[in-house]
Amino acid sequence: MSTAAKIPSFNRHGVLAIYRFELSRFKRTVWQSLVTPVITTSLYFVVFGAAIGSRMSEVGGVPYGAFIVPGLIMLSLFTESLNNAAFGIYLPRFTGTIYEVLSAPVSALEIVLAYVGAAATKSILLGVVILATAALFVPIRIEHPLWMIAFLVLTAATFSLFGFITGIWAKGFEQLQFIPMLVITPLTFLGGAFYSIDMLPPTWRTVSLFNPIVYLISGFRWSFYGASDVGVEISLAATLAFFALCLVAVVWIFRTGYRLKS
């Protein structure tokens, strides 16, 4: 047997196989995956940008239409990362094809890297498409492009990791929808996607600071317009902390075999 000669400590072929498999699933549903968010984003611009935005003053020196762009990208990034990653790992659990991944010489890290990497790739692509769509409606400037990319990638990775966890936790399709619909969407709407939290009364402003989404949107918006609700260092720290938390959960999942192995 020619292949059994030497076993590398990193299963590159295995990671690539899962990564490509996941992206090919994405290609099959490219319309649904890319066109839907583009239409949704356009609708947001029609409603918030043109209809309501025209009656609103600038927010922190930024026209309202442009102000909501980072929040809109983040909103899609959260939900799509969650959905992609959750579905990616839930589907093989549901169909039973997970047996092959579990019996393959791939480590937990490699499995996570492949599934989460693929989900993050898709949502980053999506974020870029939404940004391009937004640029058709409003003038956009990006003051700190490197930070913008850093926040985009980090957020996509974090929420994909979070989605991977929910995909392992979910016992049915309803539960798959639970986190994005009932947790993330409300938190995003309340997290300053469409307004600056400075516009809130002091009490609600304080309450908002307990919403982790505020930090993500604030940091991302800072990379565009140089202004933010909270300090960019705090935003970055909060994002990294959430990433680390998800990482710990994933390690625990593979240590215990939780809902993957009996």
Partner: protein, 308 residues
């Protein structure tokens, strides 16, 4: 031959409290076809799933080619191919893509020539660009076998390979398994079709209620536990068993018209000819005779019932 899989003290208790395996010890020899035989729920699939890394053992160790399945999982799993019992497939993928995926997943660089060989051997080559969802159940099973062979494993596990498969495909499957064995692959299959084990296996392990109750070479098993039965259709009915036939286990049936004698297969050389000679001496004539040798099925049923 050296063992290629060594299982010692293996137990598995599921979270539900179900004791699926109770202290199993087993060695599989390199290059053999080993059949795990047992009724549904006996623990066959649990045993295979532990070796393949899908189920975590409660206690005990499994070595594959000298490597511990938990510590050296990469070495072990690279050598193993698994064909699961259920038809778990990616419906929307093509045959070629799913087989290429399997090869990559097991850490092998692409090798289209090998995949073509596997697909041709399984009569799947013409279907390589078809989506799996369009294939019949038998074809899907072949796809699962092709996936398991994609990374050139040295040990192949077949969990109920011919469940729900038609007669022709079963024959094909058996042919393929033999061919694989001839190429040096060790094969471990589970089945509850006893004729399958009888047809294929070099050695047989009988599993019942989580215990490995017997491991034996098939021929020895048949010899040791098999029984031979002789039935004579007599010319004239006998009223009773003559005293001179007291050394044999004889019963009279059909109002004394039939004489039935049970032999242990192992004593066959002394049993039947001696009986026939004695009958000749007693001038008991017969117009017809039948012999029946117990099949593996009878042996199996006896074994499992004894333990019930």
């Amino acid at each position: 031959m050296p063992p290629v899989v060594s299982i010692s003290n293996l137990t598995k208790t599921y979270a539900s409290g179900l004791e699926a395996l109770k202290k199993v010890d087993l060695e599989i020899c390199k290059g053999e076809i080993f059949a795990l035989l047992g009724p549904n729920g006996a623990g066959k699939t649990t045993l295979i799933s532990i070796i393949c890394g899908i189920v975590t053992p409660t206690t005990g160790t499994v070595l594959v080619d000298g490597h511990d399945i938990l510590r050296d999982y990469r070495e072990c799993r690279t050598k193993i191919g698994l064909v699961p019992q259920e038809l778990h497939t990616d419906m929307f993928e093509t045959v070629w893509n799913t087989v290429s995926f399997s090869r990559g997943l097991f850490g092998c660089p692409p090798n289209p020539a090998h995949l073509e060989k596997v697909l041709r051997e399984l009569s799947l080559w013409d279907k390589r660009n078809d989506k799996i969802m369009t294939l019949s159940g038998g074809m899907k099973r072949r796809v699962l076998i092709a996936k398991a062979l994609a990374h050139e494993p040295q040990i192949l596990f077949l969990d109920e390979p011919t469940a729900g498969v038609d007669v022709e495909l079963r024959r094909d499957m058996w042919g393929l398994v033999r061919q694989l064995r001839d190429s040096g692959v060790t094969i471990i299959l589970t089945t509850h079709y006893i004729d399958e084990a009888e047809e294929m296996a070099d050695r047989i392990g009988v599993v019942n209620k989580g215990e490995l109750i017997l491991v034996e070479e098939k021929s020895r098993l048949m010899e040791k536990l098999g029984k031979k039965q002789l039935t004579l259709h007599l010319l004239k009915p006998l009223a009773g068993i003559p005293v001179a036939l007291g050394d044999w286990h004889i019963v009279l049936k059909d109002g004394g018209n039939e004489l039935e004698c049970n032999f242990d297969a192992a004593e066959e050389h002394t049993g039947i000819p001696a009986l026939l000679r004695r009958l000749g001496e007693l001038e008991i004539g017969f117009k017809d005779l039948q012999t029946r040798q117990s099949s593996l099925e009878d042996i199996f049923v006896d074994l499992v019932q004894d333990r019930a």
